[in-house]
């Protein structure tokens, strides 16, 4: 087997983490499959140029149409059946487009200036990514709106890369923390979220307990007004969040609650304010400690700033952590537990 490139190593690792299958073996299979797929793609392209690498949907569309710009379809669920793996669904104008289960690599793109909503019924899921064939999904410019309790906005159970840009995920409430979730990350993979708000749910972003951890990158994200947590990080997951606002979450902004295996959370240049607790970092201690690093951030006006129990919280010593105090408190509770300063380099 020839030497693996960095990205191949990454994919190999992702496959292994996701499925437990030997990554190298899979990589070899992927290489062969890709070769075949490529051959297939080339033949298909020649046979029917541009048949459906790109589908279009419109509020005036019809699912009996071929999903072309001239004759767009009406729903995401139908458009995806008319789109090649690796293709794109383009939203042409403002409307609601229905829920969709994603079974192939796809981009759904609502350009700025267009409102593209997905209404989600009680106990339903807006966008489901569950097939192991799905290794790359991009969602741009969508509004996921809950219409009833215990629903989920985006549920990721694929294998590979998920990009979420410019979305609003609103109101996915429930009566326990695990029901009513904005974005549920149920499997390993690389998740990138940018310029996205996750609001008014039970849990804004939830990672599954058990299995292999995901690698999550959050940039310019707003986690606001969620009942249990803005972001809840479970065992083995790694998340890095920067330039983001985590505010008004009733119970806690961040929850990193380790059960048996360490998780990791890096917080840079965030505002964490107005939550019940800014950050809850809890665990059994010992070798299973979670790890949280925080730098250049504001932790203020929460009832409790940082709550650290059986977990490690490291600070670069350049955060503003003050005035965390509930109306019932006589003194602030900025840092409950022990926070350790690390040296920047």
């Amino acid at each position: 087997m020839k030497a693996k490139s960095g990205l191949e190593k990454l994919i190999s690792l992702a496959v292994w983490r996701t499925t437990g299958i030997d990554g190298d073996q899979t990589l070899r299979t992927i290489r062969i499959a890709l070769g075949l797929a490529l051959f297939g793609v080339l033949s298909v392209t020649q046979a029917s140029a541009g048949a459906s690498t790109r589908s279009f949907v419109s509020g005036n569309g019809n699912d009996n149409n071929p999903c072309s710009p001239e004759a767009p379809c009406r729903t995401f669920a139908h458009a995806i059946t008319q789109t090649d793996a690796g293709g794109e669904i383009i939203v042409m104008d403002s409307a609601e487009y229905g829920t969709v289960a994603i079974d192939r690599n796809i981009t759904i793109d609502a350009p700025k200036g267009i409102y593209a909503a997905v209404n989600v019924a009680q106990q339903g899921t807006g966008i489901t990514i569950s097939s192991p064939n799905v290794t790359r999904v991009e969602l741009r410019g969508l509004r996921l709106i809950s219409q009833g309790a215990d629903s989920t906005g985006i549920s990721y159970n694929g294998a590979g890369f998920l990009y979420i840009d410019n979305c609003v995920v609103d109101g996915f409430y429930g009566f326990v923390a695990s029901k009513g979730v904005g974005i549920a990350i149920l499997n390993a993979g690389y998740i990138f979220v940018k310029d996205t708000s996750v609001r008014n749910g039970s849990t804004g972003i939830l990672t599954a307990q058990g299995g292999f951890g995901a690698s999550i990158t959050l940039d310019q994200v707003r986690l606001e007004g969620n009942n249990y947590a803005g972001l809840r990080l479970s065992d083995k997951h790694k998340a890095t969040i920067r330039n983001s606002v985590v505010s008004g979450n009733v119970s806690a902004g961040f929850v990193a609650d380790v059960q048996t295996s360490p998780s990791e959370l890096n917080i840079e240049a965030c505002t964490i304010s107005g939550n019940g607790t800014g950050l809850k970092a809890t665990g059994p201690g010992g070798n299973a400690q979670g790890m949280v690093r925080i730098s250049n951030s504001i932790v203020s006006h929460n009832d409790v700033g940082l709550l650290i129990q059986g977990s490690t919280v490291l600070s670069a010593g350049n955060n503003t952590i003050r005035d965390n105090q509930s109306v019932f408190d006589v003194t602030p509770h900025d840092i409950v537990g022990v926070m350790v300063i690390y040296k920047q380099r």
């Binding site: 990454l10 710009p69 981009t107 890369f161 990138f192 890095t240 690093r293 350049n318």
Partner: protein, 330 residues
């Protein structure tokens, strides 16, 4: 008096007429051309009669003019041979599919000043593909674009290449990239040289990146000999190698990194190499977070890696390799 009035009136009339004709002829000269998904390349590329492809619209556009996208569609590859702006305003999807073995948008030597705004450029094949090939010694602005490589493993694919192919000058161009995501390429942005390689005296490219996402590429940003890059406020995540500097035999290569996140690289988060100790690769790292990479910051052979010591370099399998040097804030 009456005669004078009459005369001045007719002069005024004549002036207005000339002005109107002038305006009309300016319109016909097409400083702005328009393209639409329902356009036709036999049209005049006017607002009322738009064209269908970028490749045709540019032939109808004055140097220094603009091609404006009216509605959402795919507009084909284009070779840019003059100063031009291609603009897809927000709310409009303007795709460019890059067939196998070609470039999506080529900036040719005569195009000294080009702006690309709001485009979605995606590779559809798996040969040597380039999203944007910047071959002139001029200035290129890339804003609000998304460049998607071929889904799958790393092929010889490049999101943006800076490689002056103009034999009349040994200087390279100036590239600005802002608010742009570059994903799934072999190299996201590559600053290399063609005529430059054989010339000892030309200037390298100056690459300025702001709020850029370099995600799941084999290498995010690669700066080779003679070129310089600055990158700020950007996310470099899930790549094989994040940011790479590799200097050559006669020339250094330089990169300044400010307020970036470099995470989840399968290999090195940021690396600095050089072939000749006299012309080292130079990286300056400041106010950045380098976490969860295989190796966070690598100062390799022939490379220098300066830190302002205000970076979080933690949680990598190896945080730093080769000693970091100190860059003092001034």
């Amino acid at each position: 008096m009456k005669i004078i009035r009459l005369a001045s009136c007719s002069i005024l009339f004549a002036v207005l007429q000339v002005a109107a004709q002038g305006y009309a002829s300016t319109l016909a000269a097409t400083p702005q051309t328009f393209v639409s998904g329902v356009g036709n390349d036999n049209n005049a590329c006017s607002r009322q009669q738009p064209c269908r492809t970028f490749a045709h619209a540019i032939t109808q556009t004055d140097p220094g003019g603009e091609i404006v996208v009216l509605d959402s569609a795919e507009y084909g590859t284009v070779s840019i041979d003059r100063e031009v702006t291609i603009e897809a305003p927000k709310g409009v999807y303007a795709g460019v599919d890059v067939p196998s073995g070609s470039a999506g948008i080529e900036i040719m030597p005569k195009a000294t000043r080009v702006t690309l705004r709001g485009l979605r450029i995606r590779s559809t094949g798996a040969n040597v593909n380039i999203g944007i090939a910047f071959r002139s010694a001029g200035t290129l602005y890339v804003e609000d674009c998304i460049l998607d490589g071929f889904p799958g493993l790393a092929f010889k694919e490049f999101g943006i290449t800076v490689s002056n192919d103009d034999p009349s000058t040994s200087n390279a161009g100036t590239l600005y990239v802002k608010d742009t995501a570059i994903r799934n390429w072999d190299v996201g942005i590559k600053a290399e040289g063609f005529y430059l390689q054989n010339d000892k005296f030309g200037f390298g490219a100056e690459v300025t990146l702001e709020r850029v996402q370099l995600e799941s590429n084999n290498i995010g940003l690669q700066v080779l000999q003679r070129h310089k890059a600055t990158i700020r406020d950007s996310v470099i995540s899930g790549n094989g190698t994040g940011l790479s500097v590799f200097a050559g035999d006669f020339h250094s290569a330089k990169m300044v990194i400010e307020r970036c996140l470099i995470a989840y690289s399968g290999g090195n988060g940021v690396e600095s190499f050089g072939a000749d100790p006299n012309y080292p690769g130079i990286v300056v790292l400041s106010n950045s977070v380098v976490v969860n990479n295989s190796t966070g910051a690598l100062r390799g052979a022939g490379g220098l890696l300066f830190s302002r010591h205000n970076n979080t370099i933690e949680g990598n399998a190896v945080d730093t390799q080769g000693s970091l040097q100190t860059e003092t804030g001034k």
